[in-house]
């Protein structure tokens, strides 16, 4: 396994096998981030390509102050946010009040809830309805195993905001799932 420094210097010397290795190592991370905010498959793949081409162009500017994966995730995050702006999606926040559970995640039709056999799918459908920056924070933490400071570095958010986003999003999802589970128990 090549370390970040060796990998980057090989790519800068024009070694395309090293670039292929970089893509293989980070395609999952980039696909997670872009895939969470863009639902169209072709558009997602195209955006992932743009991210890696940008990485290739900017690699000589990478100064090893952070992990290579964090730097790549930062580029992917910016691309995702630009795409959200292009698609005119809202980058709104979840309001602070106790009633925020009713705010962004719409009440799911009880019939569809009863039809929902897979709880994971139910939760992921709820995640899809969250504001994009919440989805990305959840993805980086739970799927890519990033720490709070790393997520802060990727998104440019203070660590406290990252923690707050995670807490509120999971709390919101839990309330919906609890409601769903409660209904199942009644049946």
């Amino acid at each position: 396994m090549m370390d970040d420094r060796a990998l980057v210097s090989n790519i800068l010397e024009g070694n395309m096998q090293a670039f292929r290795l970089l893509i293989k190592q980070h395609e999952r991370l980039v696909a997670h981030m872009i895939g969470r905010v863009v639902k169209n498959k072709e558009e997602t793949e195209e955006l992932c390509q743009d991210v890696f081409l940008r990485v290739y162009d900017k690699l000589s500017e990478f100064s090893f102050k952070s992990k290579l994966s964090t730097w790549i995730a930062t580029i992917a995050y910016r691309h995702a946010i630009n795409q959200i702006r292009k698609n005119k999606m809202l980058l709104t926040d979840i309001p602070e009040e106790d009633s925020f559970t009713n705010y962004f995640v719409e009440e799911v039709n009880p019939e569809s809830v009863l039809m929902e056999s897979d709880l994971d799918e139910f939760v992921l459908k709820l995640v899809d309805q969250l504001p994009p920056q919440y989805k990305i924070v959840l993805t980086l933490f739970h799927l890519d195993g990033m720490s709070y400071p790393e997520i802060g570095e990727v998104t440019g958010m203070p660590e406290g905001t990252v923690k707050s986003y995670l807490f509120r999003a999971r709390n919101l999802l839990k309330e919906k799932v609890k409601h769903h589970l409660g209904k199942e128990e009644v049946l």
């Binding site: 024009g14 395309m16 670039f19 292929r20 893509i23 293989k24 395609e27 696909a31 997670h32 895939g35 969470r36 498959k41 997602t44 793949e45 992932c48 390509q49 890696f52 081409l53 290739y56 162009d57 709880l119 994971d120 799918e121 139910f122 939760v123 992921l124 995640v127 959840l138 739970h142 799927l143 707050s164 995670l166 807490f167 999971r170 709390n171 999802l173 839990k174 309330e175 799932v177 609890k178 589970l181 409660g182």
Partner: protein, 132 residues
């Protein structure tokens, strides 16, 4: 932040079983499990190859641009050197040497036709035999 909820989330993050309302714990566990689930979307198997191809093309067009730039810059420098040399030496173009050639018209015309003939022979006889 609600202390109770925060504690539940922290315990689950640490992989411990949290103490609390059973339904809350169950709901949180479902949320955490779902969030860890790998999304269905995956990039195509040829994704890396396609990208490497694109990067190579990009690099090639960059190199071509660089080559043209230096070629143009070289010509520009050469012209400057030419102008500076003319200005410094006071060189004036004199075609007087052509007058000397005037008495060898026949030799020059023969020379031009002979070179043309050699080229024709080269094309007709020598190159086809080399390609066979």
């Amino acid at each position: 932040m609600n202390r109770y909820e925060e504690e539940l989330q922290r315990n689950l993050e640490a992989g411990q079983h949290p103490e609390g309302n059973e339904l809350d714990v169950k709901a949180y566990q479902s949320v955490f499990n779902a969030l860890r689930k790998e999304p269905e979307f995956t990039l195509s198997s040829s994704f890396a190859d396609k990208l490497v191809g694109m990067a190579v093309k990009k690099q090639q067009s960059k190199n071509i641009f660089r080559e043209y730039f230096w070629f143009g810059f070289g010509i520009f420098l050469m012209l400057i050197a030419f102008v500076v040399t003319i200005a410094m030496t006071g060189f004036k173009l004199d075609m007087g040497f052509l007058n000397g050639l005037n008495s060898f018209k026949g030799v020059i015309i023969f020379g031009l036709f002979f070179i043309g003939f050699l080229h024709w022979l080269d094309k007709r006889l020598i190159r086809p035999t080399q390609t066979n």
